[in-house]
Point group: C2
Chain length 360, copies 2
Amino acid sequence: MSMRTLTVGLGERSYPIHIGPGLIGQHALLAPHLASGRTVVITNETVASLYAESVERSLALAGATNLRVVLADGESQKRWETLDAVFGELLRAQVDRRTVVVALGGGVVGDLAGFVAATYQRGIPFIQVPTTLLAQVDSSVGGKTGINHALGKNMVGAFHQPLAVIADTSTLDTLPDRELAAGLAEVIKYGAIRDAAFFAWLETNVDRLREREPVALAHAIVRSCEIKAEIVALDEREAGPRALLNFGHTFGHAIEALEGYGTWLHGEAVAVGMVMAANLSARLGRLARADADRLETLVRRAGLPIDPPTLAREAWLRAMGRDKKNEAGRITLILLDRLGMAAIEKDAPQRELEALLSGR
Amino acid sequence: MSMRTLTVGLGERSYPIHIGPGLIGQHALLAPHLASGRTVVITNETVASLYAESVERSLALAGATNLRVVLADGESQKRWETLDAVFGELLRAQVDRRTVVVALGGGVVGDLAGFVAATYQRGIPFIQVPTTLLAQVDSSVGGKTGINHALGKNMVGAFHQPLAVIADTSTLDTLPDRELAAGLAEVIKYGAIRDAAFFAWLETNVDRLREREPVALAHAIVRSCEIKAEIVALDEREAGPRALLNFGHTFGHAIEALEGYGTWLHGEAVAVGMVMAANLSARLGRLARADADRLETLVRRAGLPIDPPTLAREAWLRAMGRDKKNEAGRITLILLDRLGMAAIEKDAPQRELEALLSGR
């Protein structure tokens, strides 16, 4: 296996996604972006102990002086108090506007470090170095950054595109099984919304993916990033088709917020959310029941949950009512018309939705 | 006097600045920006009691449904706790991405409400309705938004351009003298850095301005906005010449941070900072002593302070070391070569700067 490089085409904000084994050790991938000679690696405790030194060795070889900022682990870090502490560390170290932030970790680190870069001194550059499957296939690509609010997931943030994404597939060797499965949820999402052949390939290869067979994993990552890059290039700021990438997320974000951030992994909540959205699509007669069942089966075989937690219908509706896709108080959902083909529904039929949420 | 309209030329992000008396009552200026029919007026207690109802009347005539959010007064509100509370109000009201924020007030409200708009659900549109001289001539134009950090002024923020700036000069009738003078500091700045003839006009007309003679005030506001719009169009994100607008601000921000936000008005701190920067320019032989004296005289005649507070040299240098213009640990300053001509100095001579800060 060698490195694959894709491009997110956004005019002057275009950037490469490098995917392959051992990329953290390749300082030549970093060097073009480090003209100022100064970097800040933002990571968490778990990832720091595994990969911070090798990234910093590459940064040194690329000629940069680095400050390391280590966060505690977990989704609960995506809050203002953490940001404020990071800003304090950067200010005390007199980090300037030309310094490059390197986000080293999973989705939480990438979202938070990206938002630090988006807002420190009104914006500084950053590089994504994702070390989880979920971050490599989804959250590190596309420039969405932000934190959670007590009342809703990712409700505070900014669009801020990285200079590059460096996805070192070797880092997946140390990923816990539960986190690997969470990443597979987003991989399945791409097949479900955009590529029926890829969905079928996943049905054939899901066991190889769970066993971390490198060729299979590399294919899943590359195909996921291709689809994501294509949609982001069409609609950077989610005025239209980018919302399709939110399949399963309206239900999923509600689960995360209602159950307490960090109780469910994001990918686990999205997995259940996709099953719920497919079931709603089937109830509405948009999706064949057999296809909703295929999705549920694939999600289960990926090692992911398929059943929602028991929550009051009113709590569901209130949490879903705060989704960023909504307009004028109506809940927007992403539904499936068939496997590989999703659609934006701006006014989800209330009766069928409530029946689903009531478990009827 | 009639309305004047200037344009900030930023391609697809270009927008108008309307300047004139009674504009808050003209709903036709708002209507083109309110396609979604939903607005959030963010203001403070003082301004709400004076102008919120008339703005909301215009919004209603323009067909919008409004949510009013009222902050406590003062610079100390530019902090995360305030933002977090505002986000909570918007989320509980299910404010969506197409809703337009209307920032009604002075610089604090504009900076904070602008940053709310920049980061709520990763960005929503906003309109600036500045009601202080300082906001009308400076902070409402150019898209700088943000909050303070305990370690530095405006250290967290974003560039987020408004849809329009509506500067109703009638609102200056209710402005306290101290706030009017603070606004004059920024007006003087434009003359000092960019327009010697305007500087001379200010020397002739400063008493009329302090007496709020409407024709004089209107001229000062229009000329200030012309200069600001020109520089912002050249350099939206402050990669180069926009830093000239920071004349007096490196010293001024240090005063604000060290003395406690809100103790000095921003314009007062900038006034002293301009005198300090001019004196340093004269010490370095760049500016004629007589011109530094002219600046000091005009600042004093505008009702503004000219003497810095007594602060330890180390405190000055530490606070100035955190300025956003700095690179690689060196303090960047804006100096004058003559009245009407400023320059960026990226490596301020340490010996002369320390002598100035030591009061020698």
